[in-house]
Amino acid sequence: MIIQTIRMALKAIAGNKMRSALTMTGIVIGVIAVVVLVAIGQGTTSSVTSSIEGMGTNLLTVNIRTYKNPITTDDLDVLKQNGSISGIAPTLTQSVTAEAGAVSYDSGSIVGTTPSYESIRNQTVVSGRFIKDPDLDNRSYVAVVGVDIADELFGTRNVVGETIKVDGYDFTIIGLLEEKGSTTSGSSDSQIIVPYTLAQRLYSETSVRTFYVSAASSADVTNAQAVVESYLNSRFGISADSSDNTESISRYYSVFNQSDMLSTLSDTTGTLTLMLGGIAGISLLVGGIGIMNIMLVSVSERTREIGIRKAIGASRGNVLTQFLVEALVVSLFGGLLGLGLAVGLAGILGRALSMTMVISPEIVILAIAFSMCVGVVFGIYPANKASRLRPIQALRYEG
């Protein structure tokens, strides 16, 4: 019976190809819009999330704003004793122009830091090694470089042992960092990492201006932040009373919590995805109204047919199912076609705009389910109308 009903629906759809195609187009466009826009939204979310995670999880970024009572590496050693802190690394960053032979690269930055930076910032050395303690003690002119530096200056990634000139000083390259791609706060791909002590000497900076703290675990992040804040408060003589006065504290230092940022950003992108999906959903709704419109036309056009069917024994249920299945088939075909086109379009867009597109199974199921829902919801009224026709009136109808 169901097979027969589907066959009848297909026949009715095929009997009116142009109209069916146009009706389907509404659903197709709706589904494409939903899938592609949500893919863009989810792609953005995932690329933002992964770039933040790429900077290291459990991460606190501390910026010192005052020159009173300068913080030194000794202070960091004290902080490091705390159980909730697993690592701490000061950094000293300068924008520089790097040269190798006649080639120069001016969008690099030099970062002086300590060996623990490697694990705190999730850096991986793909060849050679990272900065080690003896390099700090000896203030060696050694550098670990990002892939952009290697590509731009040497045209190869086989750069360990090469010499690079930064601000007139020659550095021996001892390692190459793994490619990270662009991140929200400057890429490590264009960094030149040198020993912290050497950077301090080169840029005549004795105090620590920026340091990264990694908490022992994600549960310790808040703890670690409190430890750092209370240490800095006492260090700068900020009383406990004014500790909730964030504005006065921010004149001395700021602590930036990576997980806060992550959740804020994913909230934002989540809202964005929802909004894009919602807007696209409206077009799917419009497609549904198109189905309803056509089905209503079809019901009045086929009044006589319905009358004949009823006279030879079709029940209300038979007629209802027939029209509902027709609406469902149109919307399902539209949905599947739209999905196929959307996957293709997402691929093309992703490549053309070098955007990350994520088509999750959830959205695929959602798009299909939603288009079927549209078919049922907007098909039920016309189908019901058809099934309620009295056979004699329907038979007399001159369409």
Partner: protein, 251 residues
């Protein structure tokens, strides 16, 4: 087969109420070939619709093949239509998008007959109306007579208790009309109960028994009252109750 008592049906036309059927009583036995004859507006189509369970009477009793139709709900009426009644219409009423085979098959699909059995019955019905070679033709590729034969095959395929034909020759030329009437006679001879509705007395003549209807009432044959003045029929139903009485009237 059909047993109707005091069937009343009214229609509202604007402010006026039209009495389409005014206390019609009627009996048709199994295997009979009955013609209901009446001019247009006499209520014969309304009667046919009620007999065919396409419409419900306002009052009265109606039994079809032992089933009480008066109390039947929508679902039951659908089943009765499907299983007990084979309709043949003036305008053929075939589905234009289906071919001959599919048109005949359709009521069997609604009856949920198994595919193999369905095929057997469709083919034998088509054989019967000699249209087996036109199986894949659409109605618009067939002549009027052929279309009506498809409709007859569709009615036969259901093995109905009664075949209801509403002006079956009305849209056909007289030669084809005779062919179709010949087919009805054949069906009657092989044991089918046939109820024919027509305004054409020449067509009605070919039936075994005729019932006249006028202004919503079964008309008493005028001669009867004069032939049997001492024993008038009390109701129209009695007058029309079977071939025996009809024969008496003829005497």
């Amino acid at each position: 087969m059909i047993d109707m008592k005091d069937i009343v049906k009214q229609y509202k036309m604007g402010t006026q109420t039209v009495m389409a059927l005014d206390g019609v009583s009627l009996k048709v036995r199994e295997g009979e070939f009955v013609a209901i004859i009446g001019p247009s507006g006499s209520g014969k189509s309304t009667l046919m619709n009620i007999i065919g369970c396409l419409d419900a009477a306002d009052s009265g009793e109606y039994k079809l093949a032992g089933l009480n139709v008066t109390d039947a709900g929508e679902g039951q009426l659908t089943r009765i239509r499907n299983e007990n009644i084979g309709f043949i219409f003036q305008g053929f009423n075939l589905l234009g998008k289906l071919n001959t085979y599919e048109n005949v098959e359709l009521p069997l699909i609604y009856q949920r007959v198994k595919p193999a059995e369905r095929k057997r019955r469709v083919l034998s019905a088509l054989e019967r109306v000699s249209l087996a070679d036109r199986m894949n033709h659409r109605p618009n590729e067939l002549s009027g007579g052929q279309q009506q034969r498809v409709a007859i095959a569709r009615a036969l395929a259901c093995r109905p208790s009664i075949i209801l034909a509403d002006e079956p020759t009305g849209n056909l030329d007289s030669k084809t009309g005779r062919e179709i009437m010949g087919m009805f006679k054949e069906l009657h001879e092989s044991g089918n109960t046939i109820l024919l509705i027509t305004h054409d007395s020449a067509i009605a003549e070919q039936a075994e028994r005729r019932i006249s209807i006028e202004d919503g009432k079964i008309k008493l044959p005028a001669r009867k009252l004069t032939v049997f003045p001492g024993r008038p029929c009390e109701t129209a139903a009695e007058a029309c109750d079977g071939p025996e009485i009809q024969k008496e009237v003829r005497i």
